[in-house]
């Protein structure tokens, strides 16, 4: 009973972590951008879903939330990332740190805007499905099961897109060798637009589901970014399957700690694991150097 509870709760949390981290790692793999406004993007999606759900019901809310995620992603790209990448005053080798600082500031702006309009108190998005289902003797909210299913559906959709469509294969190629791709006649900036769109959808879905499952508050946008960042580094920057494995490691480690020891120690073992892995194997579990 106790064990199955940990297994079920850990599974749902981990799936959510996985979805949250996949967009982040995809973005880094394809365009080399570490988007520190990631948590804020998820936050915006969740808060929009929460606001709209009051008028249009939970399905309409979820849809609006995902749209908001895409809009935020494009906003990040056009207002922050692209100007920095094209700026002549910024030396090439320092672009990375400028993108990091720029997206960090942008994330703070988004977070403060959300706090201004909807206060800093936590909001819980109306769940898509109400009710409780019993799995192996554990009473589980149906929404938790749906969350896990939707996360995996989104990740599966991404897999299909990347491996089975032409545009997706171009994405994959851009992550391996962007110059080669341009030689084949692909416009790299279109690829970047596509990856930001996909990123927005993934972060939007993750944000809405997170908002319905755990609730979000504008105060934890930074924590969300940090956990996505650490999962992604643990799995290996740019590796989608590595991120998923890492998400499950972290998710179960956190669930185990909060059930067995105390919820206040929740993320300490995961942080220590992260330091150990990064120190012993800097490229992460499945990363390439």
């Amino acid at each position: 009973m106790f064990v199955s509870q940990i297994i079920i709760d850990g599974f749902a949390i981990s799936a959510l972590y996985g979805l949250g981290a996949v967009g982040f790692t995809l973005m880094f793999g394809v365009s080399g951008v570490l988007n520190l406004a990631h948590g804020a993007t998820m936050l915006v999606a969740a808060v929009v879903a929460w606001l709209v759900a009051d008028r249009l019901g939970s399905l309409g809310g979820a849809f609006a939330g995902v749209l908001a995620g895409v809009a935020t992603a494009f906003g990040t790209y056009f207002c922050v990332v692209r100007p920095i990448q094209r700026s002549r005053a910024i030396p090439r080798e320092e672009t990375e740190i400028f993108v990091l600082t720029g997206t960090l500031l942008w994330g703070i702006m988004l977070q403060e805007a959300v706090a201004y309009f909807t206060t800093t108190s936590p909001h819980t998005v109306r769940p898509l499905i109400a009710g409780v289902t019993e799995i192996a003797g554990v009473r589980t909210p149906t929404n938790e099961i749906l969350t896990a299913i939707l996360c995996w559906a989104a990740i599966g959709g991404l897999w299909l897109l990347v491996n089975r469509t032409r545009a997706g294969k171009a994405l994959l190629a851009a992550s391996v060798n962007p110059r080669g791709l341009t030689l084949l006649g692909y416009e790299l900036s279109n690829i970047y637009l596509l990856v930001w769109a996909i990123y927005g959808v993934l972060a939007g879905i993750a944000g809405v589901l997170l908002g319905a499952f755990l609730g979000v508050s504008s105060d934890n946008a930074g924590t969300l970014t940090a956990s996505a960042f650490s999962i992604v580094v643990l799995g290996g920057l740019g590796s989608v399957s590595g991120s998923l494995i890492a998400a499950y490691c972290v998710g179960y480690l956190e669930t185990l700690t909060s059930y067995m020891i105390s919820p206040s120690f929740r993320n300490i073992p995961a942080l220590i694991l992260l330091v150990a892995v990064v120190y012993l194997r800097p490229q992460g579990l499945l990363g390439r150097r």
């Binding site: 920095i84 400028f98 650490s230 993320n267 300490i268 990064v278």
Partner: protein, 308 residues
């Protein structure tokens, strides 16, 4: 040309120092109260600039070093009541140990990986403060029995003096041959090594110096406030402010960080009527500066005429 720039910088700095020295004669205690933390803050930003601008280490967790110094000094004082100087020394020592701990992974990792380690270090420290709440005061904060002084002017001159000494040491270091070697190590470690410089030694030294100043400054800040809480010395948001201050002022200038820090703190204070929106406005301004004049305040002033 280089002499001209140097003298311009020198006269500018001298003028600002004079204004700062005369300030307590003319302005209210309120303004001094705003400036005192700003000066300590400036030291955080300068130490960060030494690590990032010169050693090339992306340190997302300046508050790890600051927090160690602050809490080391604060807890020692609260537990034993030793004199302030001993507590500050202990805090500084703790921060240097923390700096060494950060330096170890920095020698092996680079870029985002090291950045993450520093971020995690801050999160772990914050967790430790929460977990050992009976010693550290937890989220609410630690109350410290001793303060530096209750007189505004004394506190002000102490903070100003400390900042000037730190600025002189850090700036001198950055312009010395050691600073040049450090810069070389940050930009191209392989080549620096090929020229016969000990990259590891210089980087470790940079971490120690940065940690020393961050730690002492954190400890002094705690003795000014009379309290230490994660929200003022450890939280990632504070670290972000330090980074913004250094980037705004101009990377690789050390002294620019002072301008950035004073500007940030003052802007936060002036925009206070905007309430929650003030952080938004300050971040937006910083973003615009980064996009339009990436060299920052001092960088733009000094190197505008250089070939760019």
């Amino acid at each position: 040309m280089s002499r001209l720039i140097r003298s311009r910088l020198f006269w500018g700095a001298l003028g600002l120092v004079l204004i700062a020295l005369l300030l307590p004669l003319g302005v209210s205690g309120y303004i001094l109260g705003v400036l005192i933390p700003a000066y300590y803050f400036a030291v955080f930003a300068m130490s960060w600039d030494l690590l990032f601008g010169f050693a090339g280490e992306v340190n997302f967790g300046p508050t790890f070093l600051v927090g160690l110094g602050a809490y080391g000094a604060g807890i020692l004082d609260a537990q034993t009541g030793l004199p302030i100087s001993v507590c500050v020394l202990f805090g500084a020592l703790l921060a240097v140990v923390g700096g060494l701990l950060l330096a170890l992974p920095a020698l092996r990792l680079s870029g985002p990986y090291f950045g993450l380690i520093t971020l995690v270090a801050v999160l772990l420290l914050q967790q430790m403060v929460t977990v050992f709440a009976h010693v550290s005061g937890g989220e609410i904060g630690l109350t410290i029995p001793d303060v530096l002084s209750i007189d505004d002017a004394t506190n002000y001159y102490f903070a100003l003096g400390f900042m000037i000494v730190s600025a002189l040491v850090l700036f001198g270091l950055s312009r010395s041959s050691a600073g040049l070697i450090l810069q070389a190590c940050g930009q191209d470690p392989v080549e620096a090594q090929a020229l016969g410089f000990n990259v590891a030694k210089h980087k470790v030294a940079a971490f120690c110096v940065s940690a020393l100043f961050s730690g002492v400054s954190g400890a002094l800040l705690v003795f000014y406030y009379g309290t230490a809480s994660p929200g003022t010395v450890i939280d990632i948001a504070v670290g972000v402010q330090v980074i913004i201050a250094a980037v705004l002022g101009g990377r690789r200038t050390i002294l620019g960080a002072v301008l950035g820090a004073v500007f940030l703190v003052a802007a936060g204070e002036i925009l206070r009527p905007l309430g929650q929106l003030s952080t938004f406005v300050v971040s937006a301004f910083a973003l615009v500066v980064i996009l339009l004049v990436p060299a920052g305040f001092l960088g733009t002033l000094l190197y505008r005429r250089a070939s760019r």
